[in-house]
Amino acid sequence: MGEAPLRIAGASGFWGDRNDALLDQVRGGPVDVVMLDYLAEITMSILRVKKMRDPQGGYAGDFLKALQPALGDVVARGIRVVTNAGGMNPRACAEAVVKQAREAGHRGLRVGLVTGDDVVDRLGELLAQGVELANLDTGAPFSTIRERVASANVYLGADPIAEAIRAGAQVVVTGRCTDSALALGPLLAHYGWAADDWSRRAAGVVAGHVIECGGQASGGNFCGGWESVPDLANLGYPIAEVEASGDFVVTKHPGLGGRVSAAVVKEQLLYEIGDPRAYQTPDATADFTSFALEDLGGDRVRIAGVRGGPPPDHLKVSISYQDGWTNAVGLTFVWPHAIERAKATERILLERCAKLGIEIDEHHVDWIGVSGAHGPMAPPRAEPNEVLFRMAIRTRDRDSAKRFGEEVAPLVLSGVPGACSGLLTGRPDPRPIVNFWPALVPRAAAQASVEVLES
């Protein structure tokens, strides 16, 4: 006891989250570290396309928008900022931070850069070494997608981030790493936990897991009593106050909205986990059934006694690949017999596609307002006031996806009656499907590299 905890604030849960959360976390009260996660499964493939168009692009530019108004406070107070905003191009992102700092008059800001996650150019080499890259979920062989691969990134862990901080970096930019590494890295650098101190590493993993999804750990998306959460428009994002033992308190700044209660934190603990006794990361395997959770009141929840074990022998690699085209059309049908008219419209569209040679591999229909989101689990309703008919397709053929989008508007005049365009208007454009292929590689397959730039 006696030593002050390391206060780590979350400020982004995905690319598209609020850009003002970083400033709120920095201005709202004392923090030592701010971490920002930008990378969902889909994000890397989008960034890969951006990098192919622009060699200086391919990272989450929102990070610079978030950092710009906060940089003065960050520099003045020595707050560390750790982010995976680097995406497919962490070097360009780190250089952009250096440039932004220089232009704002902050000389000598040290920006850490972690690379080595991108293995797309080394897939042939890995296959030659006998790494199968079979689909982790389905077991399908890699040969079925090899020609269509768009990106391949290994999930790195916390050690390279810690190394960058030990080398003096105040801002750390990475590409693909585990979300929790953004919290565990600063903890390893601060407390010097041993490489085999699995339980404390696991505690850092759990802390990172709680705060890596932005507002979801402080009252956002809270099922267990959303009515009681104050001021979501000014939601204060979560903060983990982590002690040297690994025990930590989840909280938020008092002047901002939101709520940190046992129920709120439990929901986030359960978010996107599998077997709770074996939450695997490159840094440790955490046991989510091992710890005690206590609501201290006053927006403070304590988690103590996390136990963990060694990480698995392999690292996860996230591969994205082109997988055909999709398009979706919609029409709103009003009372009466709206569902019957929606059913008739599905039949008409399928007949039109067959007649015109529009190839459809699969189609799916929603009756939004009746059973759109939950299909067979939604009970039948009495006659609805209106139904938004939505029909989505997958196809190998781009032209078919495009022409499918052109078939809906004529139905307002030539189809069944009582329809208006509603939300899905005009001729919707086809979208390419970029699918996701998880696989395993040996730990030695990805060598992280750390350097420090300076403004």
């Binding site: 439990k266 978010y271 986990i273 939950h374």
Partner: protein, 116 residues
């Protein structure tokens, strides 16, 4: 008495590829043994019907008075390819909370779910 699970539990759901996980958390300690007894992997699998094409795994977290369900092949191929309205299963926890479960008559359970 039969009551919707919503009255006894709250939820959060998430996705990893074609896998959806649904956390179910007791709203009060007294509800935990009821939820533990009533909400089996088999019932969850049956409830989702053909929307879940793979197996359902069930895990207990007694420290959180919570269950975690892992529904394999339940997202129409995964969030990036799904044709469904909710591509990532973000709302699937609510779908599960509609399920009716048997609750002891003497258990105090305020009504939270709207009446169907």
């Amino acid at each position: 008495m039969r009551r919707p699970l919503y009255d006894l539990a709250h939820t959060r759901a998430g996705d990893k590829g074609d896998v959806c996980n649904i956390g179910i958390i007791a709203r009060r300690p007294a509800y935990w043994p009821v939820i533990q007894r009533e909400v089996s992997a088999e019932r969850v699998k049956a409830w989702f019907g053909d929307w879940c094409r793979g197996p359902v795994e069930r895990y207990e977290l007694p420290n959180l008075e919570a269950l975690n369900f892992v529904l394999r092949r339940s997202l129409d191929g995964g969030g990036l390819v799904s044709l469904r309205l909710d591509t990532q299963g973000k709302t699937y926890g609510y779908a599960l909370l509609r399920m009716q479960i048997e609750v002891p008559d003497d258990l105090d359970v305020p009504r939270l779910a709207p009446l169907d």
